[in-house]
Amino acid sequence: MSLEPVSQRTQPVFLRNVRFGFGGRVIQDEMTFTIEDGEFVAVLGPNGAGKTTLLKLLLGLIRCEAGEVMVFGRKPRRGNSGIGYAPQFRTLDANFAVRARDLVGFGLDGHRFGPGFPSRKRRKLIDEVLEEVHATEYAEASVGELSGGERQRLSLAQVLIANPGLVLLDEPLTNLDIAGAQEIITLVSRLCASRKVAVMLVTHDINPLLPHVDRVLYLANGRCAIGPPQTVITRETLSVLYNHPVEVVEAMGKKFVLGVET
């Protein structure tokens, strides 16, 4: 559990002794960690451990019950354009009525009121971010024609076009096959480095992420542990976290946590 003393707290994420819950139940207590610019952090833990709720806390959609939360040195607030958030359950309606580029454009000005006319500048911005996520070839295709991996890239592009400093991705790898998941991970990791954007990626399976993430935030049993994968995903750390003997087995370069539901 790494915890550096902090002086200015202008990091993308700063939490100290935070307690939050959902529906009257405390999910996490004494949560303390920071995330630096350009850091790629995987958020792991069993169902109900508070992974999505943590993201909602950072987005200002819920409040903490105790402690201090800072996002870029300010209290979390709704509609914070410094954060890009790709929610987990995304049902796209009227799939054939919009193109890939329309979906990405929503991230730029979809929240703005007023008439708003298309401009060359807007088009250029959309083209650039489509290029960045390798989605140029299907820019004009209807969203309904695209595969899960292709849509996930658009989701990423929609978030990136607003130039956030912190990106929260809630389970972007579900429903993707191994190759598809690998492509998204490589893309995110590259964007993390090139844009100096901090990324928190919620996932159930750490293995495809192991070579790419800087740190792992593991939530379980009302507590959390954060650090590089080789120090967090160990028998010692996880047994303390779960308060229950846990075994971590390594095979074929992958880690498997045994003895608990992950």
Binding site: V98, D102, G110, F113, G114, P118, E145, E150
Partner: protein, 289 residues
């Protein structure tokens, strides 16, 4: 023959009134179709019927009654919640109750005189031929308001209609937008009643937009196409009403029949368009998953 047609006030009124309503119905209809709210829109027309007959009974302008009733209903649906999608049971209940109220008001009202009975029929099936300049001003007012509100809201509305979770994440007030849109639908259906009556309002609100969505995946293009189709269908319907061999068939019939025809044609065209698009697609290096 067309010049002869436009020499009469009745025709000029019918064509201008029709165009005003059709333009707005085409634009609003696009979002109704995207949000799969055709049934809710249908319910609004029946609520408008109850409002119109109720107003007639009280001796108030039926148009005012429609607007009040349907705005109340929009507020109610907004409170019930999220976008009224998949709320068939609630909508069905409200719809049939509103229709029942309308029938009650109409039967009381039409007992008093034969002309009253006729005005009830006009509310149901439209009265494009008896449209007055006053009616046109009313329709223009409600339609212009609806169109202005739509222009103001169209970006968050489109975002929230296609990608509600994404919109919510970006800070779009999804529920408020949803309620505001229902109010826009209420104003629009009130306008449609002048032209084709409550029972056929759906033909202008839904068919042109649904046809446009079948033909293009560009939102701007689809809205323009939907508006143009709605105006085209309305004007063609009016021309047929006045020049058809069997004269004086109701405009509502021609307009709804043409609307259905256009939609049917769009279905056939869509199959072709999509087939072409899929074949053009470079399948080789696409990942699936």
């Amino acid at each position: 023959m067309l010049r002869e047609l436009f020499s009469s006030d009745i025709m000029v009124h019918a064509f201008t009134g029709g165009a005003i309503v059709a333009v707005v119905a085409g634009a609003v209809g696009y979002f109704v179709v995207l949000r799969a709210q055709a049934f809710a829109a249908e319910a609004f027309t029946d609520i408008g019927f109850a409002g119109a007959t109720g107003a007639a009974l009280l001796g108030v302008a039926s148009f005012a009654g429609m607007i009040v009733f349907s705005l109340l209903a929009a507020a109610g649906l907004g409170i019930i919640g999220n976008r009224a999608r998949g709320r068939d049971v609630e909508i069905g209940m409200v719809l049939s109750f509103a229709l029942g109220l309308g029938v009650l008001f109409l039967s009381i009202y039409s007992r008093t005189s034969a002309s009253h009975a006729m005005s009830g029929i006009n509310i149901l099936f439209g009265s494009i031929l008896t449209i007055s300049s006053n009616d046109i001003l009313l329709a223009l007012g409600s339609c212009a308001t609806a169109l202005a509100a739509l222009a103001l809201l169209h970006r968050p509305l489109l975002f929230a209609s296609v990608d509600p979770a994404g919109a919510e994440a970006r800070g779009v007030p999804v529920r408020a937008i949803s309620a505001a849109f229902l109010a826009i639908v209420a104003l629009t259906t009130a306008g449609c009643v002048l032209l084709v009556g409550v029972l056929l309002a759906a033909s202008l609100l839904i068919a042109p937009a649904a046809a446009a969505v079948n033909l293009t995946n560009r939102p701007g293009q689809a809205i323009a196409l939907s508006m143009a189709t709605a105006v085209g269908v309305t004007w063609c319907g009016l021309v047929l009403t006045f020049t058809g061999t069997i004269r004086h068939l109701p405009a509502g019939f021609y307009i709804s029949a043409l609307a259905a025809l256009v939609y049917g044609a769009s279905l056939v065209l869509r199959k072709r368009l999509r087939r072409v698009r899929v074949f053009e697609y470079p399948h080789g290096d696409r990942e699936t998953g």
